[in-house]
Assembly symmetry: C2
């Protein structure tokens, strides 16, 4: 069977970073390493393993160095670290990250709340990171948080997002992520913006990052996929969340996305049974249930015993 | 502004039937009536108010007559009753149902488990109902459960589904529902089947009934909508569930669907704030949380106060 790899959907697993950063209980460094090591064997080509931000801002991920140094790297897997500035970049490089993910919000208000600086200050900080890594083999990705809406400002001007994409490309970023930080995107908006952005960079350089805050995460993936996008962030179990929407879902759930792709005949390269086994161990590790559905319902092919009709 | 009503999406609210039937705690008749009365004012044109099946089979809905007699009917709203056979039809007619919804599974095994009879026996029972209501003003809808997959048999032959549609139409059913009883449908399958079925009956006569068991409910709605379907079942709060997937979601959530439509500019005629108020009262009534997301996260336009940056 000849496969059309242009149809392939690439999942970047972000649970160790965007998933664990909001967990209220401390997850031991060894457990973080074990999670990443299990994910490395499930078929992912990209895993966001942690972030190198101020330990005061995100104490849950304060052991980034130890995690990156402790994981058993698999060849073919790119291990990504989120960094906000030069200091974070230095730490991530020293810890052996393959790719740095720089984050700025399209919304000034959200960037001030999240990064404690203006967008202009974020871009200036990115410049110092670019300067520092020149000549190194590390990859650079830049994310645009609140691309599809801001919990403080509301709607975000699409022209502003496209302008930031252009700025990132001029700066020399190799990859760009459009992030729906608080789950405000809808499929029509996603299609419109993805088409505009894909006129500026190849699909292999664009990642979509959706949250399922309002139940639309997988709808938005399909809309973006139809518009030509091929790379998506997701978190096993649907880990993650949003401080502004307690009780609402977090990142789109990796195994629910992989199940969707399997059912639709879209290749991901990810082992669904292996992923389900990882997901089903998470509630014990974290002490609470997770929003992912397929881990609870099973796959379509997990049939149930036929009832004994003689009892009826 | 001129609206294109051919684009309008009709939501049939099924929480009083498919939602409440699986609730472990008894919901008082007065509370059921109050729920339907609130829903009647939220803009729905169709509400499935209960079922007239054996009280032994579904004790949670054993008060169907009292519920139908107690509700305050709004003009323009069609109140539907699910019935399995002639006895149920007699009870529903006496209680004043505007439409009878007859249910048979595409899967023989599921029909035996659910209805305690073969598909052929179900069709024969439907014939006696059709005979009985001839000349009455009541409407008849017929559902095909397990259209997209059976938890016992697995995949369902699409030709078999289309054959049942043809049989229903020949019998004189005015509406047909394709039901994804245990959430096994995927968007490509939905598009393929909806297109085939819409070559046989108008969109106004076809309802799609999706469960969110594996997180794909709203993806399947959009796929069906794109293929031309316009009528969808949903339950406020995402009430409902599946005995074969404990912990998994139930029906697609009405307010999440209406929010999706509002965001995409698809007219539904349903008042989202009113619906959210109904949904947010349900956990207290039922004693547990519900899977609906927008009731927890709020609408996109429910903005959050800007943090005090001077503290940072």
């Amino acid at each position: 069977m000849i496969r059309d790899f242009s149809e392939r959907l690439i999942v970047q697993e972000v649970s160790p970073r965007d998933g664990l950063q909001i967990e209220p209980s401390w997850v031991e460094t060894a457990d973080k390493i074990a999670l990443i090591d299990e994910l490395s064997l499930a078929g992912f080509s990209r895993i966001e393993g942690g972030s190198f931000v101020s330990p005061k801002a995100i104490p849950a991920l304060r052991d980034g160095e130890a995690v990156f140094r402790g994981i058993r790297r698999q060849s073919g897997v790119i291990y990504v670290a989120l960094v906000p500035n030069l200091k974070g970049a230095e730490r991530a490089l020293a810890a052996g990250a393959d790719e740095l993910n720089l984050v700025m919000s399209a919304s000034q208000t959200h960037n001030r709340a999240n990064m404690r600086m203006s967008c202009e200050a974020s871009l200036a900080a990115f410049d110092t990171v670019l300067e520092r890594v020149r000549g190194e083999s590390v990859l650079l990705n830049a994310s645009i948080a609140t691309t599809f809406g801001c919990p403080f400002e509301g709607a975000i001007d699409e022209d502003r997002v496209v302008q930031i994409v252009d700025t990132y490309l001029e700066m020399g970023m190799q990859g760009i992520t459009l992030a729906d930080t608080t789950g405000m995107a809808n499929p029509r908006q996603v299609q419109r913006l993805v088409k505009r952005v894909l006129s500026r960079l190849p699909a292999a350089a664009l990642t979509l990052h959706f949250h399922n805050t309002r139940g639309l995460g997988l709808c938005n993936v399909l809309a973006a996929y139809e518009a030509g996008a091929r790379r998506f962030d997701a978190a096993v179990g649907g880990l993650g969340g949003c401080p502004f929407a307690p009780g609402a879902s977090g990142n789109i759930c990796t195994e629910d996305l992989v199940n969707l792709c399997d059912q639709m005949g879209i290749e991901t390269g990810i082992d669904l049974p292996g992923l389900l086994a990882i997901s089903r161990r998470l509630p014990a590790l974290l002490g609470h249930e997770l929003p992912g559905q397929v881990a609870k319902a099973g796959r379509n092919c997990d049939l149930h015993p036929i009832p004994d009709f003689s009892l009826g």
